[in-house]
């Protein structure tokens, strides 16, 4: 079977060019490692918070009230479900130095607990309704970490004040986590996207492999043989599909080693990644159609890579630009890119523990789009490179 011969030839060639394949395969696991480092090396981001505690403890009926210290302790005890700290609290004495740290983004927020904090809380408890202590929050509002740290510190402080003053609340806030999302670390939330990214990065291989045959002229030799476009592109696709699967497996293993746990079964995830790789191969072939050399293919492949990486939510979540709604499904611009559906499906599987039934729409959209991209890629490659041509490359 000629398709198989092309596949074997590709393996032989790549075996002797291992560093290129190796680099391609190492890229996505490296991304996993970088994301893990980004989330503090524990899989969860710990927000650095500075506290200037000026509170002077007060004695009430032989009891010492240390509200400032209590808040610091509560902030220090705030933890993710996996036990790692949510906040890293640093006690400061000097406001100027603390603000310098904020400016240098060495910390996300500064909280200043006033000297009369304990006294004012006790006065309120004793019925002095007008008693008011001013807790100050300082931060760079353009720093995205500030917003998160600020909300957490405010919640902790508010809860503490509620506990100490026992003031009634007219509203109770109830949080219901979807699936197993409560138990997920920040790092784990990135992993589904990174698995899709591992496949997206194969666009280089998918573009450069056929471009190599164009550049070296061997495609001209192949065109003289009875090799059909189907055999040639099928053989190449088989090789690229194999590399994509290896890339996903390596990325998955790297993620597991760094603390990732799946909430769902793996089979649907495997199928999703295989279908996605088909679309990436199609896009790679499209790139190769417009390339005369490997270096040209590499440069051109950067453009689809940028779109696929950033618009599909593979690298990080992106806002959706809503276009229209069909059967209750909102369509966005990014939905035209197959990896978008792969990211959503893998998120559902890994984070929410979804099964086949829950990802029917994403799977159908992924299959349709992948076949479309692969079909266009193959057809255009056949037309521009495989048949009788108007110009010799």
């Amino acid at each position: 079977m000629r398709l198989w011969q092309v596949f074997i030839k590709s393996i032989r060639e790549q075996k002797r060019d291992l560093w290129v394949v190796g680099l391609s395969l190492a890229f996505a696991p490296l991304f996993v490692f970088i994301y893990w480092l980004m989330t503090g090396g524990t899989g969860t981001t710990a927000y650095h918070v500075l506290v200037i505690n000026q509170d002077v403890p007060v004695a009430v009926d032989a009891l010492k009230v240390t509200a400032g210290e209590d808040i610091v302790t509560r902030l220090q005890n705030l933890k993710y479900q996996n036990g790692s700290p949510l906040l890293k609290v640093h006690l400061e004495m000097d406001r100027f130095r603390a603000e310098q740290k904020l400016r240098n983004r060495n910390a996300a927020a500064l909280i200043i607990i006033p000297a009369d904090f304990s006294a004012k809380l006790m006065a309120f408890n004793d019925g002095e309704v007008a008693a008011n202590a001013e807790l100050t929050f300082v931060g760079d509002l353009t720093n995205p970490l500030y917003t998160v740290a600020d909300v957490m510190v405010m919640t902790v402080t508010d809860t503490y004040i509620q506990d100490v003053t026992a003031a009634p609340r007219p509203v109770s806030l109830v949080e219901i986590p979807l699936g197993g999302s409560a138990a997920r670390s920040e790092f784990e939330n990135y992993v589904p996207g990174l698995l899709v990214l591992a496949i997206i990065l194969m666009v280089f291989q998918a573009a450069m492999t056929p471009a190599r045959d164009i550049e070296s002229g061997v495609l001209r030799r192949l065109r003289l043989t009875p090799l059909t476009s189907f055999d040639y592109l099928g053989g190449i696709s088989l090789w690229l599909g194999l590399v994509s699967i290896i890339a996903v497996v390596l990325t998955f293993v790297a993620a597991i080693a760094l603390g990732f746990r799946s909430q769902g079964v793996l089979l649907p995830a495997v199928v999703i990644t295989i279908i996605t790789s088909l679309s990436i191969i199609g896009i790679g072939l499209l790139v190769a159609c417009f390339s005369k050399s490997v270096s040209q293919a590499f440069v051109i492949a950067n453009f689809p890579l940028g779109f696929l990486m950033f618009l599909t939510g593979a690298a990080f979540p992106m806002p959706r630009f809503h276009l229209f709604t069909v059967f209750g499904h909102e369509f966005a611009l990014a939905d035209l890119l197959p990896p978008t559906h792969a990211v959503i499906a893998l998120n559902k599987i890994f984070t929410l523990g979804a099964g086949w039934k829950d990802i029917i729409f994403e799977t159908a959209a992924l299959i349709l789009l992948s076949l479309l991209y692969f079909g266009i890629g193959v057809r255009l490659y056949q037309k521009t490179q495989m048949g009788i041509v108007k110009h010799l490359s």
Binding site: K9, R12, R16, P226, L392
Partner: protein
């Protein structure tokens, strides 16, 4: 007269304003050697590319045994002007690969490959990567790849270009021996005319 193997009818090709081939009509009979002689840029490679079915003519047609060339390409072997090789495959792997594409059985292909490597003085380089072969050896491997499937018509585009004197003698002798059993169409530049 031996039967006509290949004939062209008013074959023409232009690249922009340049007319590379202009209404070329010819007939080649079985066992003949047809030479295209001319300086660089005369249109020899263009004519050969159209005759073997790689390049689409602007006008005219090519027939092999009276049928359009597109369906008859398996009867053709082409040794292009430049070395077209898989740099990361050994000499033997290349021959095996091309043989498999022509549907040759592994046993037949192995025998054929061994003969070709022997005849072209490459037996001791069978397991060497093409990228590591010297220029003359690459050229000979280039020729061997055109012959793997034992084609009836052989197109040789500048078969001696880039060859060292020793390889040139070997290749010339080899082409001479081939001419007894094949129809050969070759192109040569002006400076080789006397030779």
């Amino acid at each position: 007269m031996p039967p006509t193997v290949l004939h062209t009818e008013r074959l023409s090709k232009s690249f922009g304003d340049i007319k590379a081939v202009d209404a070329l009509s010819l007939q080649v009979h079985e066992g003949e050697i047809l030479g295209f002689l001319g300086p660089n840029g005369a249109g020899k490679t263009t004519a050969i590319s159209m005759m073997c079915g790689l390049l689409k003519p602007d006008a005219g047609q090519v027939f092999i045994h009276g049928k359009p060339v597109i369906g008859m390409r398996t009867l053709v072997g082409v040794c292009p002007q430049e070395n077209i090789l898989w740099e990361k495959l050994t000499a033997l792997e290349q021959l095996e690969f091309i043989g498999s594409l022509y549907g040759m059985r592994p046993k037949t292909a192995r025998r054929r490959d061994a003969v070709l490597l022997e005849e072209l003085g490459l037996s001791n380089k069978a397991d060497q990567l093409a990228g590591k072969l010297f220029g003359g050896m690459k050229r000979r491997l280039n020729l061997a790849l055109a012959l793997v499937h034992d084609p009836e018509i052989l197109f040789l585009d500048e078969p001696e270009s880039g060859l060292d004197p020793q390889s040139r003698v070997l290749v010339r002798e080899y082409i001479r021996s081939l001419s007894k059993r094949k129809t050969i169409i070759l192109s040569l530049t002006g400076r080789r005319l006397r030779e």
